[in-house]
Subunit: 282 residues, 2 copies
């Protein structure tokens, strides 16, 4: 029996999220189908966490155990051959015996992309980059407000540290349980980095934490946008965290701007293998 660890990238536009659902296209379902076509086995791969419909991944991690002996490079190539082009396996490695993509994860990083129209709405002549390109639209929030970066940065920094993030978790208890990283999600999470940067017509928010509640990143982004457009002072983030009430925070940002960027595990993850021979990337 071999335990496999896969690193995946996917365009979530046409999928109903990570979690397998009968009759609907999902990432987990497509991956299970690909594993079946390669190994002949019916195996449900475990992800580091669920992503919602329309949310993308640059580095999702999944694990599964299989008795089928397959050389490492062949597995990567065969899975990519079986998967649709909107899902790619970037890296395959064998994992240590007790590895689990979800339970072993210690940190996750998400990225959220906001498009900024770069001129005032009534400008008579302006530049082509002021329209959100159709090629960026599935991967960004085309935000109609002109956002002030510095107050957003101050608000984002307040989230660093260990807090109860109930105010930023989806209010729907079913949804919260569905997306949670435990069956009963612990609202205490540690945020290690919470940073915004502006490049040309895009604002990118990057957040690294010990774990995230359902809709937590999108609710943080919706609240940061309230700050950026001037409708919420940055220091209000303290009050919102203390309220432990979803209605204290801002709206939920749309899914298509969100990317699961990377998932970190304790190192060395594979004490039995030298790090330069533990995997194959294609």
């Amino acid at each position: 029996m071999t335990l496999w660890k896969l690193t995946l990238s996917y365009d979530g536009t046409t999928f109903h999220g990570w979690q397998i659902q009968p009759g609907l296209p999902t990432i987990q379902g497509a991956l299970a189908d690909a594993i079946h076509s390669v190994t002949g086995e019916h195996i449900l791969p475990q992800g580091s966490g669920r992503t919602d419909a329309g949310v993308h991944a640059l580095g999702q991690v999944a694990s599964f155990a299989s008795p089928t002996p397959i050389p490492l490079p062949n597995l990567l190539r065969a899975l990519n051959h079986a998967l649709p082009p909107s899902i790619r396996v970037l890296h395959v490695e064998t994992a240590a015996p007790h590895f689990h993509a979800r339970h072993s994860a210690i940190r996750k990083t998400y990225e959220y992309r906001i498009f900024q129209r770069s001129t005032e709405p009534h400008a008579q002549i302006s530049q082509p980059e002021n329209v959100c390109s159709p090629f960026d639209a599935p991967y960004t929030w085309d935000c109609r407000w002109r956002l002030a970066l510095e107050p957003m940065q101050r608000a984002a920094a307040i989230l660093c540290g260990t807090h109860d993030f109930t105010s930023f978790a989806a209010a729907d208890p079913d949804a919260a349980q569905r997306e949670s990283e435990d069956s009963r999600p612990n609202p205490l999470k540690t945020i290690y980095d919470s940073l915004l940067e502006r490049t040309a017509s895009r604002i990118t928010y990057r957040v690294t934490g010990s774990g995230f509640l359902h809709h937590m990143v999108r609710n943080i982004v919706g609240t940061l946008v309230d700050v950026g457009r001037g409708s919420l002072p940055p220091a209000e983030m303290h009050r919102i965290l203390a309220a432990k009430d979803r209605s204290a925070a801002g709206p939920t940002a749309p899914p298509q701007g969100l990317f699961l960027a990377s998932v970190e595990y304790p190192s060395p993850a594979h004490p039995h293998l030298p790090s330069d021979k533990s995997g194959v990337t294609l």
Copy 2:
């Protein structure tokens, strides 16, 4: 009555091409719907030419006449508000009285993107950029062959000048008529530029011509790929042109790598307006 000239960009992935078809999503149909919602009029905009299902545009041009008086910046904003995010109006201007997006066009430029896996297929360890990203897949041909650029460049250069391009036109007469720029397409076209360049893991073909027959760019690319993988000597392009027979050329490249990059018109197109005040771009 005002004659409007629009410059459009679109992601063709989810559309059944440019031409309006009952019950199917098309670019022309979506644009007609947007014009209707803005002006209240049922007007079919004319494009510079038809693009096939899955083909994209960076700078398609469309024209339509409307009696509704609308300030220029408002028209751009209102059309983009009414259109799906996968279609954007980049520029709006008023056109000279006899302007027609198709009949007035004098040159068009297409771009075709080919993804190249950058190592040998049996390499044990390689780099992540060897997998075609899910975010590039809808906009590129993920070509499994390792292509030699220089022979492709020599073959592409042979196409420059005025030739009968029957060998590169779709064999299906209905399709040829459907896509043609005239109701009876003239197979004589002049190619001004026909260039390939390689950057990182992408080969880009750019071709500028007086006009293009149905599938002509995709059939050229399929033939250039035959040259790049070593199955066709570059000088065979002379024989293929002379044959005036579709079966002499290579296969049709897939649609998703193709972009209509730009359309050129005689300058000055708008003798009555100074060039810096003739349009608005947002």
